[in-house]
Structure formats: C-alpha cells, structure tokens
C-alpha cells in the first residue's frame, strides 16, 4: 500500500481504521521529502514539532477522544503564513531569519483540526511571480518534469502535494498563485471567495486581492480543507461571517441541470490547441451528463490584467514598506543615516521582481498619477465585477482554461516579464471580482504536461465548484 499516493480523504480513512498511525505517516512524508529534495519544495521543515503533534493525535485516537477533521494528516503551509516559532521568510532574503512571534488564524485552524504541519513551502518572493523562479531560496521544480517550472507563487506547495510529500497544502492566491501552480503540477487548487478565509497572520501582498486557499490531490480533499480554514475571524475585518456549508456534503455525484457558462473571451485564438481540446472534452462530458451550455459575455475581461498590476502593486508598495530595516529582517551594516538605512536595507533585502512592483506601486499612487491609475483601476474593477454578476444570472458556473499553455521550462520566461505576467491572464480576473475558483487537471498534452481547467462560481458558491469538480474528476478517472 503506497500511502503517499493516497488522497487526503483516503488516508483519513486509513488513520481512522488504524491501518497506519499518524507518526508512521509523518515519518513516511519526511522520508519522501528527503528523497525528492531536488524539487526544493520546502524552505524549512519542523520535524520535531510534527512528530510531537502526530504522537499526540495517535494517543488521543487510542483513548477514544473526538478528533478534528484533519487529525494526524501531514500538511505543508506556504512560507508567508506565520506559525509561532517557525521561520516565515516569504522566500525573501529580507526575512531569511525572521521567526514568527505569532500564529496566523488559518494555521491555527489547521492545528486545532489536528493537522500535522511538517514544513513551510518555497514560493516566489512575497508571492510575486508565476514560476517560483523569484525565490531567494532557489527555483522549485515541477515533479511531473523537473526541467519545468511548477508555477507560482505557491510553487513549493503545489510541487510538495504533487510529489507526495504531504496530503495537502495551504497557499495564497492574489492573481492565480494557487490555481496556476496547481494546473502546472496536475493537482487541485482552490481560491475561495474573498473574505472566506482569514488573512490574519498571512504576510500581505495585495490585501484586497489576497486569499488563502488550498492545494490537494483531489476535489474532495479541497472541500475538506476549506471546511477547516473557512470562517469569520475577529482579527480580520475583511473576513466574512457568511455561514459555512458542509462542503464535503455538497458533492452529490450529479451535474444534472447545471448551467455551464462559456465566455468567448477565455477561448481566444492565442489558446493552446491541446488545452482547447482538453477543455472541449471536459465540457462535453458535463453536457453528456445532463448539464447545459450557456454562452456568457465578459467584454472587459482583457482589462483585468492592467487593473491587477495597478491595484496589486499599489497595495504591495504600501504593505512592503514595513520592511524598513528598523524592527526585524535585514538591517544593512553600513548605513550613514536614517534614510541611508532605509535605502541600503531594502536594496540588500529585496529581489528584483519585488523592487519592480514596489516602484510600479508607488508610481501609480503618487500625486498627479493617482486619478489616472489607481482611481481608474478601481472603477474598471467595478465594471468587471458587474460583468461577472450579469453572467451568473444566466449560469451556475463558468468553465475556462486555468492558463493558456501548460507549464514552461525553467528560465524560458525569466527575461520576458510581460510574457510572464500574461501567464495569469485567465486567473487574475477572478481575484479582481473576488470570486471563488478551482483549478483541476483535465488532461495532459503530448509531452505529458498537465492541463488545468478553471471552474468559477458566484460569491460564496464553493459548493458548486466542489460538486462539478468532483464529478469531472471521477468521470476522467473512469474514462467516461
């Protein structure tokens, strides 16, 4: 029995029925991490802490105590999520030695549900990037083919889940940072509705777009994890008190009557033909099983990327200003005065992509440019939201590719920033509209690289994503 290939829900059963203990499972994961260290998925591990948590769960289970939803299951969290006593580097040189003085709400919820946190995942520095090449701790590799990028910014989380190092991971998604790597690595990635999961303790990139979500090997796993991390947090004003449904129970095994929205803007002529045919097949599977296809229109979709780079960079410039060399992180050794301390510490601590975004962000917020950029972007954001709302009057779910192409080779786009930014063209609009979306595998190209499909639902309708996602997942497995 290869436990490391199991889905989270399967290993949950194995633990429940006593086929394996959490300590044994945790040890297997650490063995796997060592075997696959070439993937460079984790920045730090917490073996001692993990084994102690696993042991505690095993003992609690043995004594018949009631256990949480993730009891004894090894999980990885992205390295921009604070967990007391662990290093939280955000894959930046600036925070290379920063030890969290407190725990993020989402991490606490995992711990409270009995999860065994085994390590902190590599990522693009401060979650800025689409390939995980912008890490001060080195490139992460795609386990499907190690010459390829795993996607970003939650590339470490995706590669770790895909390579069997853990059974699920937390990531963060500001413009596609969960869905794109999930798609590149052939796993499931969920970006919940904005406000569904608390952001408290998660190092902010762009506060109005950031959302914590999860990466798993199956849709059911995704539903289980969201059930654990969702909910109102008194430490995050933007978290919602909307009721949390039983996500696992939302999986019914039927898509009869489901209205699937297709927007032509997602299927333009730049779309890779293998991606298109995989998508067509998936949509046909839905139709064959009682769903109907509806055409919807999202005319402003192509403006989303511009809106995204204005809003996210503006917020990032402000969010990252606290890294000033005064309180924690890099403090330059050779400064003359206060201003010099700021300049040198930030120059030494931040990588190129981060600096690029900070400059862009400060530019669009500066006096004289604010109205032309920031204010206008906020207005366009409203329009994009309204277009999605209108589309959802006609359908239950919108289906589209997660990315126009499968994973690219390491180094292929490192010098073409615009090409890199364009990778996120289908995922970014979802964050702009604050909607929930799920990326799941729907096939492979001729080179064996995974192709990702993106399901988008109205606000708070993650249930629809899980039901539709699970249906297709099973259909593909059974070759329906």
């Amino acid at each position: 029995m290869n436990y490391l290939k199991m889905d989270l829900w399967q290993v949950r059963e194995a633990l429940k029925t006593g086929k394996i203990t959490s300590v044994e499972l945790t040890k297997l994961c650490f063995k796997r991490i060592k075997e696959t260290s070439n993937l460079n998925t984790l920045i730090s591990t917490c073996e001692e802490f993990a084994l102690a948590s696993a042991k505690a769960v095993d003992e609690a289970r043995a004594s018949g105590q009631k256990l949480g939803a993730l009891a004894g299951i090894p999980i990885v969290i992205k390295d921009n999520i604070n967990l007391t006593g662990t290093k939280t580097t955000c894959a930046s040189k600036f925070l290379a030695n920063f030890v969290s003085p407190y725990t993020a709400t989402c991490a606490q919820k995992l711990v409270d549900a009995g999860a065994v946190i085994i390590g902190k995942a590599n990522m693009d520095e401060f979650a800025m990037g689409s390939s995980n090449e912008n890490s001060a701790f080195g490139v992460v590799r795609n386990p499907v083919n190690t010459d390829y990028v795993p996607g970003g910014s939650s590339g470490g989380s995706a590669s770790s889940v895909a390579s069997g190092q853990c059974f699920g991971a937390l990531g963060t998604d500001t413009g596609g940072s969960i869905r794109e790597p999930a798609s590149f690595c052939g796993i499931v990635g969920l970006k919940p509705t904005y406000g569904r999961v608390s952001r408290y303790g998660v190092v902010a990139f762009a506060s109005s777009l950031d959302q914590v979500g999860n990466l798993t090997r199956s849709v059911r796993d995704s539903a289980i994890m969201l059930g654990v991390i969702a909910g109102k947090d008194e430490h995050d004003m933007t978290s919602s008190s909307n009721a949390i449904p039983d996500y696992e129970k939302a999986i019914t095994g039927s898509v009869k009557g489901l209205k699937i929205g297709i927007a032509k803007q997602f299927f333009n002529d730049k779309l890779n033909s293998e991606v298109r045919s995989s998508l067509d097949k998936a949509i046909q599977t839905y139709v064959d099983n009682g769903a109907t296809k509806v055409e919807v229109d999202l005319p402003s979709l192509d403006t989303a990327l511009a809106v995204y780079y204005i809003l996210s960079s503006a917020e990032a410039a402000s969010n990252l200003a606290r890294f000033d060399g005064v309180k924690y992180g890099v403090q330059s050794k050779k400064f003359k005065d206060l201003v010099d301390l700021y300049f040198k510490s930030r120059t030494e601590g931040f990588g190129k992509e981060v600096k690029r975004r900070i400059m862009l962000g400060n530019y669009v917020l500066s006096s004289g440019y604010y109205d032309a950029f920031y204010r206008k972007a906020k207005r366009v954001q409203k329009v994009i939201r309204q277009e999605f709302e209108k589309a959802f009057e006609k359908c239950d779910i919108i289906v589209c590719p997660t990315t126009a192409n499968p994973a690219f080779k390491i180094g292929e786009k490192s010098n073409d920033h615009l090409a890199m930014y364009l990778t996120d063209i289908f995922t970014v609009p979802i964050n702009i509209a604050g909607l929930p979306a799920l990326s799941m595998p729907c096939g492979k190209n001729s080179e064996g690289l995974p192709i990702g499909m993106q399901l988008i639902a109205p606000h708070w309708k993650e249930t629809t994503l899980f039901n539709a996602g699970d249906f297709l997942e099973k259909a593909l497995k059974e070759g329906k």
Partner: protein, 472 residues
C-alpha cells in the same frame, strides 16, 4: 498694516480602554514596549481591527461641536517612512472623514467670535523615539492609540483667539470625558498655520508650525511668526510655504522643510479596513448620551445659584473645576462664597504651578471643611490661605489641624475687650487720633491685638470692640 490669519490643527488622544486597531491597553506611561502586539508593532501579516469605541468618541466630539456626521467614511493609508511608524503608514482619513463642518464660539476680551471647523477625523498615533547616548530607541506603547484631528478654518486673527479656541476644544473634550487633553503629556497637541495679508487682498502664503506643547508656546510661536513674516514682507521678500519647528527654549522657530521637499503621502483607501457605515439611529443614540456642556452648566449656575454670568463662565470652562465646585457645594451650600474662593485663591494657586494641566489637589470634602471654617469666621483669611497651601497634595483634615494647632480665631468678646483696654491704656496718643477721626489708627489696634493673640484675633470683632470703647 497686515492682517493675521490663523488656522489650527488640533490632535487629541482619545482615552479608550484599548488602542484604535488592536486590543492592547491604551495607557500613558508603562515600561517601554509593554503595551504592544503584532498589530501595533507592524509585524508581517498582522491586520487592524477597528475599535468601535474610538468611532463613538469621535462622533461624540463631532456632535458636541455641531459637525455633520458622515454616514459613510473611509480609512486611508498615509505612507511615509519614520522609525516611530512601524507599518510605514499611518491609518488616517482623507477623502471621507467621520465629521465635517461645525464650529465653536470663543470669547476674547469680551468679544464673541465663531470659529468654524473644517473636519474631525480619526487616526492612529505613532510610537515615541527616545534619544540616548547609545543611540535612538523606540517605544511603541503609544503606537496605535486613537487620535482625533480637529481642523479649523483660518478664522482666527490673534494668538489670544488661537489659545481661546484651543481651550474651548479642551474644555469640550474634558466635558465629554473622551480625552485627558493634557498638553504636557502630549495627548493634546496642535499645529498652527499662520499667514499675513493686507486688507482687501487675497490670503497670503502660510507657514505651519509644529511642536507646540503648551498654551504659552502657541502664543509665543504665533507672535514670533507674525513678526518674522512681517519682516520678510516689509523687506520685499516672499513668504515660502514651509513647515517650521518651534523651539520653546530658544523662543524661535526653524524651517523643517519647504513645500518643494514636502512628502508625497500616496494616500489610498486601506484595503484591510472596511468603510465605516453609521446609521442615524446610532448617531441619535450617541447624541442622547452627550453630557451637559459648559454653556448649559453656566446657565444653571446663574439661574439656580445666583452666580454672575462672568463667574459662572469662568467656573465651567474646565469640567473638572465645575465638577469640583458642584461637589463642594453639595456638602456646603454656599455657592457664591465657594465660587469666589475658587476663582480667587484656588486659581491663583493653580496659576502659580505653571502647568496647563494642573488640577486641584485637595479633596472636595476637605475643601468644604476648610471653607466652612473660614465662612463661620472660625479662622481668618490669612489662616485659610495658609491652609490651602498646606492641604495641597495631602489628605489632611483642616478641622483637625485647626484644633491641634489652635488656629481658631479669638472670638471671645470679653477676652478681647480686656486685651484692647490694656492696649488703649498703653497708647493714649493713638486713642486720641482715632477719636479725632483718623480711621487709619484702627489698623494699629487690629495689629496690636493680633500681636497679643498670636494672630488669632478676629479682626471684625476687634473693630467692633474698639469702636465701642472709644465711644465710652
């Protein structure tokens, strides 16, 4: 000549239990960095949670000065780097402040004037830098404490008006009980904008002065700035728009930065804080809890206690004084007598302390006892004054002191008569002069009888007895 135009930006810390965006205690003092958490020290990933109480207090102030309360208001980030600002941005308000408009009436030398307010908004305070020999240290205890900024229109034209305006705001803050409003502890601070122009001409270029920590500093800084600008203008130079720092020791201000190198704060709505939406019902509820302000109390003092308008106004300016007065009156129902004593002797004492924030440091019960002794002529004025000094800052009971030290006046008519008969016998010349109508000689007899009684003779009684004796 030039007309002076003055506008004020007044910052006041609110005395909420906890800070503006986290649950840390909002306490003045305390060991450095003991009232802080990940939120108010700007740890990566920490998020602000708005303190409802701070919003309520800001609305209270807005209502008390007749502002319009905005039903929709937004927090923005004011971005700049400084070590006392841990997030490198201050959460403040710009486009949609909580309160707009309103104003207060001031009175200077008998002339009343209405000073308009532009806005009141809510923001957070920064930490405090402590410069030491080993370098600069930072205390974040004050970081994140709620502040309201009250911005006036440029409606004042003299330092006296500026101080009156500031005192008026302070009085209201104290009445509402939403701030300690102490200038010296820095929980009431103000920046002053000054410009000069000629009658009929448009407003001149203004300069802004910072670091004004007392009413005296405000007065001096404005006087200095008016002279400086007048000299510049008279010399044919233009006034540069700039920020100046007042140095109270040197009695001068210095340019900190001009408009050219002023900072671009890159304000934008804080995405971590949802816009505040307040309902009319909530505003009405706050309005119904507003305490009586100075004007209303003064009116009551005139109508029910028979004080003069002037006295009532002086007594009610500071809520603590008015509260004190009312407590004393409760145990000793002589409002006029008590009022005269507070406005005279007590104010003299307070002024001698040279502290804008000084309070009466005798508990009202002891004050009532002291005044009863004085009013009943058990002690004389001299003794009463002396006891005021002695009781200050202590819990001593004046009745016991008077008894133990035998400070009571001699009110024994027969005894005093014996003493005075002897004095008159010893000083026949003085008696003659008094009889001849030289009333000044009365003082001589009072003085002599004081000498004979160790200062305890009741002067009024002495007077009566002497008058009686010379008529014999």
């Amino acid at each position: 000549m030039y007309k002076t135009v003055i506008g004020l930006e007044v910052h006041s810390e609110l005395n909420t239990e906890t800070k503006c965006f986290c649950s840390c205690k909002n306490h003045f003092g305390g060991e450095p960095n003991t009232h802080c958490c990940p939120v108010c020290t700007g740890m990566p990933g920490a998020l602000p949670m708005l303190n409802q109480k701070a919003v309520e207090y800001a609305i209270k102030m807005g209502l008390a000065v007749g502002c319009k309360i905005n039903k929709y208001s937004v927090f923005e980030r004011k971005n700049y780097f400084y070590p006392d600002l841990p997030k490198a941005y201050q959460i403040s308000q710009l486009e949609y402040p909580l309160c707009v408009g309103g104003g207060v009436e001031i009175e200077v030398e008998g002339k009343k004037k209405y000073i308009r307010l532009n806005r009141i908004h809510l923001e957070e305070d920064a930490g405090k830098l402590i410069h030491s020999n080993s370098g600069t240290l930072i205390d974040y205890n004050r970081g994140g404490v709620p502040l309201i900024e009250m911005v006036s229109e440029p409606d004042m034209s003299s330092p006296e008006e500026a101080v009156a305006f500031l005192q008026k705001l302070r009085s209201i803050l104290l009445y509402l009980g939403i701030s300690e409003a102490k200038m010296q502890e820095g929980n009431l601070r103000c920046d002053v904008n000054v410009s000069l122009h000629k009658e009929g001409e448009p407003l001149g270029t203004r300069s802004e002065m910072k670091n004004l920590n007392s009413f005296r500093a405000v007065t001096r800084a404005i006087k200095y700035e008016v002279l400086r600008q007048a000299e510049e203008l008279n010399a044919g130079r233009k006034i540069v728009q700039e920020t100046r720092r007042w140095d109270d020791n040197a009695g001068k201000s210095y340019s900190m930065r001009t408009k050219e190198d002023s900072q671009d704060y890159r304000y934008f709505p804080d995405p971590d804080i949802l816009p505040i939406e307040v309902e009319q019902e909530y505003i009405d509820k706050i309005a119904s809890t507003l305490p009586k302000l100075a004007g209303e109390r003064a009116k009551q003092y005139v109508e029910k206690m028979g004080l003069t308008e002037k006295d009532a106004e002086l007594l009610t300016q500071d809520r603590k004084i008015a509260d004190y007065f009312e407590t004393v009156v409760k145990s000793f129902n002589q409002p006029k007598f008590i009022c005269n004593w507070i406005l005279g002797e007590v104010f003299k004492k307070l002024n001698s302390l040279e502290n804008d924030d000084a309070e009466i440091e005798i508990n009202p019960e002891n004050m009532a006892k002291l005044l009863k002794l004085y009013h009943s002529e058990t002690i004389g004025q001299g003794t009463a004054r002396q006891l005021l000094d002695e009781l200050w800052g202590t819990d001593k009971n004046p009745e016991i002191i008077v008894k133990e030290r035998g400070l009571a006046q001699v009110n024994d008519t027969a005894g005093l008569e014996t003493i005075l008969k002897k004095i008159m016998a010893d000083n026949p010349k003085a008696v003659e002069e008094l009889k001849a109508g030289n009333q000044k000689m009365m003082a001589f007899f009072v003085g002599q009888s004081m000498k004979a009684t160790n200062g305890k003779a009741n002067p009024k009684l002495v007077n009566e007895i002497v008058q009686k004796l010379i008529k014999l």
